[in-house]
Symmetry: C3
Subunit: 139 residues, 3 copies
């Protein structure tokens, strides 16, 4: 049983832009030499998120639109009073989607579906480089 | 320390139907012979989800109704333009709820509450057989 | 490779009150003596949740307000018919946010950001002592 850490970074635009990191996660698992285990994908910071989706241009618009229903951009946030900041909605969306995802791998392959990709999102109100930890554990 | 993989499948109706898989997860942990560790529950595909809830008939209706507020069924989705598909809402809901859940076990028992069940959901617009990976790791 | 379990409890007010447990999680990791691995944070019961956020007074109000959009307090829930209960919204919110979070640690330190804290929420309609399992695995 071993633990291997890989850090990756992803440059993203604002307000729900996302990147498909499935290949980078698979490459890290392949290089680890482990056959069976799990990879924890954790995004640093409180205005990012990680999840899975079918990575295609339509959903890249549909998902931010749904987040706009949960935490609209045109209302006031108490968070802005704390820091004179403008990204209250970003924090709220991050907490609801979540910042960790755990994906099993079997015989060296991630067990994601053909139309299911691992995505990192930047929910902040300005472009950001999001840092992601891949913690691979298995044998 | 060991890794054991179990695959299960669940037949579900459309738009938020869910099944309680707690007993199947507990059985897999019991059969593994491990005493302490974690089980990762991961659902394949991008129109499913996994979470916990009190599994009773009322919430089986209340949860889909809340998802209807996040991603309504009566609006247009960009996803439909990509594939001439009808399940944009299903994908959005899946990304927000999430497709992985990790549950600890201690002395061979899952640490879920008495009124807390592990559920797999089908969020797609038609009935689906959802495939779920249980990755058990521990000692 | 080892597995260490730590149970903590947190007293919280109703409807989205939250506590920052980052220091308690870090302390448990430090005491474990492990250098690299993951900690699974799992909250017992189906009206709690665990996630990360920037823990500050503004977001402590903003997050419950967003949850009110997903599962309002002034509507009827089928759950209430099952148990003559009043916390349908609490269950729905818990299922959507989630009850597990997995955080990597590297060289003995959690890989959370400076402004990112691990929080446990009580979403129930009355104050509750929430029980949380920390399952630490690594080497």
């Amino acid at each position: 049983m071993a633990v291997i850490t890989k850090r990756i970074s992803v440059d993203l635009q604002a307000d729900g832009d996302m990147a498909d990191i499935s290949k980078r996660v698979q490459d890290a698992v392949s290089k680890s030499g482990m056959r069976n285990g799990i990879v924890t994908i954790f995004t640093l910071g409180s205005t990012g998120a990680v999840s899975t989706t079918e990575y295609e241009p339509g959903l890249k618009k549909d998902i931010p639109r749904a987040l706009e229903r949960i935490a609209p951009s045109n209302i006031d946030y108490e968070h802005h009073k704390t820091w004179h900041d403008d990204n209250g909605r970003s924090h709220v969306r991050s907490t609801i989607i979540g910042t960790s995802l755990v994906v099993p791998f079997v015989d060296g392959k991630l067990t994601i579906g053909t139309w299911q990709q691992i995505v990192v999102m930047n929910l902040d109100t300005s472009p950001r480089r999001r840092e992601v930890i891949l913690q691979i554990m298995g044998e």
